[in-house]
Symmetry: C2
Subunit: 382 residues, 2 copies
């Protein structure tokens, strides 16, 4: 549950507002795009006059229906997302209420599990896949990604009947950068000791970033920051913790809740539902397509190789936020983040920052065991 | 064990010959490249005057040392390969005898597990990574891959001090096509009923393809075909089986051995250690770089999305080889092949060809259970 900060009420009540807005848009013929990943540039979707919601599943209850076709030993986020689509399209009682709002899914070739799940999505929803080079940093990789996002722009033009003009794109880049700067303001406040807001509250706000309209979201974050700037929190209880790793999609707050129950103070999240979504702005002074290609290809997801930028970012964040320990979170069977942990651990060890690795799914059965491990970790670093 | 066909003796004794050859080459200053995947074009390595061996691990005994750093719940081939490198570089007693022969590893961005394992290989061996687009079929993807293999050509030139000329490349393309045509000749004989050679023998021959020099390998396959063309095998015992899925690296023959013990007659393998390595020739009449880029990007590995070519290939092979059932083999935790099974199963169902899915590691503990399932499958389709 969100805490009692009055400005957080907005995020609690915004869900119905947003569903109403999306339904209205659909009636007007505005196209709604469903996405699953930060690598799909929202700016292009909005510049085409469409709207978007992120469909990543964080709930356990849609997993069983997914396991009727997908293997059980893949990541719970993929199963939960797929299960929500199947449920919605087959009139299941656990239907994700967002799926029926979507005209098309725009997916991306990131990890093996998602990439292959997307191949069976078209049985349920129209699906477009954006390719990604996996070795960023070369001019050729950038050229390839640029061609992919331009193709995606054409796809959006065909879908909506609108032109994706450079001016519209520039406007959307400016607006998205505004969101990013607001989130920097929010995260900046968390450098305080004690931080004025709990990690669990921030996570729930961040999860809303992927569902609300950017305008609604900015309004909420702005009010929240205004309030937090004048909040004097109680003295800090436990050690300052960074969470690093896989995203925690709406519905998934297990690890964060356990850390806080055990007395840890979460001050920053290096993940798609944390810094990875907003840390870097898009260059507003370049050709907008090139600026987008550059910025999006720099997202330090573990699907990239090598992912040195992520390692450097984690160490930098740990210092900036005066972190006493890192909880490295891997969604079960996510090979990319799981293996990348080795390099993260090595880099943090050099800085004498301890790391606790947790791999978990959306079930409850490991809560007790995780609690014991987190307890021991917090005691060790306190 | 290889059967008693006299020509198979060559493959049994070729191991020592090859090791001696590689050692001699090294003394002469010839560079030896280690690879892990079909997507790395051998022709470029040979055209640069270097030699190559494939380092994919099929043995269980190198896995424990890999699990000291890699997660346990990733594919056994990745762990076995990595463990062999660690063992060899740290003087372990289970050292892979091939690793110390290698000057450099040329890896590729295929699946999540390998891609991320390659990031820790440089702690042990110099490593170069070739990027791959994941959505083949577009001119942009081809351009990107072309730029990647040309960059790789430059890398090989720097490594060896030799120029990779178009003429040298054309010569290597012709030779590699010759190997491919020989393997078509071998696999063609297996269309007979009964086939003149066991699947387990073919697998062990195919595994040697990745270790012997192309010349040695062609000599062996040619002799084998000559002999098989005049062999009259005993009447066939059980149903005709196709194996489809993940590669079976040298040392890994578990599933094949079980199928044959239970009376199945393996007639074709749709895998990297089967048809995927040789089915398509490189166009000898085009610019050699473009021809290589086109051919290699068409390899129907499950890391590609969508992988329609593979689905079509499987159905085609099942018909060509008059297959009564398909054993779909997934290395444990290989998400790409595991999820792609859905589409394969659907396509085969249309053709009324039954499929048995087996996911397994390199351990012995599931042999009994797999045996029971294969027994039941063979009985059902007999």
């Amino acid at each position: 549950m969100l805490s009692t900060l009055p400005s957080l009420d907005f995020f609690k009540t915004s869900y119905e507002l947003r569903v109403a807005q999306l339904n209205e848009e659909r009636e007007k013929g505005i196209k709604i795009v469903g996405t699953f990943c930060l690598y799909v540039p929202d700016e292009i979707i909005f510049a085409a006059g469409a709207d978007r919601i992120v469909l990543c599943g964080g709930r356990a209850d849609t997993i069983p229906v997914a396991e009727q076709s997908l293997p059980r030993n893949i990541c719970p986020l993929i199963k939960s997302s797929f299960g929500a689509v199947v449920n919605a399209c087959c009139g299941g009682t656990l239907a994700c209420p967002h799926v029926p709002l979507v005209d098309v899914v725009v997916a991306e070739a990131t990890c093996d599990g998602k990439k292959k799940m997307y191949e069976i999505l078209p049985d349920y929803l129209p699906t477009y896949v954006l390719d990604l080079p996996q070795k960023p940093g070369s001019p050729e990789a950038l050229d390839y990604f640029l061609s992919e996002i331009k193709k995606f722009g054409k796809f959006m033009e065909n879908l909506t009947g609108n032109v994706v003009s450079n001016d519209a794109l520039r406007k959307e880049i400016r607006l998205a950068n505004e969101t990013k700067r607001l989130l920097h303001r929010l995260f900046g406040l968390r450098r305080r000791d004690p931080p004025p807001i709990r990690g669990s509250d921030v996570l729930r706000v961040m999860q809303k970033q992927f569902f609300l309209s950017p305008g609604q979201f900015r309004q909420g974050v702005s009010q929240l920051c205004d309030e937090l700037e004048h909040t004097t929190p109680d003295a800090r209880a436990g050690p300052r913790i960074m969470i690093s790793g896989c995203p925690m999609a709406a519905g998934n707050t297990k690890i964060v809740d356990i850390i806080e129950q055990k007395g840890g103070v979460i001050v920053v999240e290096e993940s798609c539902t944390g810094t990875r979504s907003f840390w870097d702005c898009v260059d507003e002074h370049k050709d907008p397509w090139e600026a987008l290609a550059e910025r999006y290809l720099e997202i330090p997801c573990a699907c990239m190789t090598p992912n040195d930028q992520r390692i450097a970012r984690i160490v930098d964040l740990a210092k900036q936020y005066n972190v006493q320990g890192v909880v490295y979170y891997t969604l079960q069977f996510c090979h990319a983040y799981n293996i990348e942990r080795l390099r993260v651990q090595k880099a943090l060890k050099k800085e004498k920052i301890p790391l606790l690795a947790i791999e978990s799914d959306y079930g409850d059965s490991d809560k007790e065991q995780i609690g014991i491990r987190i307890d021991a970790f917090l005691e060790m670093i306190a």
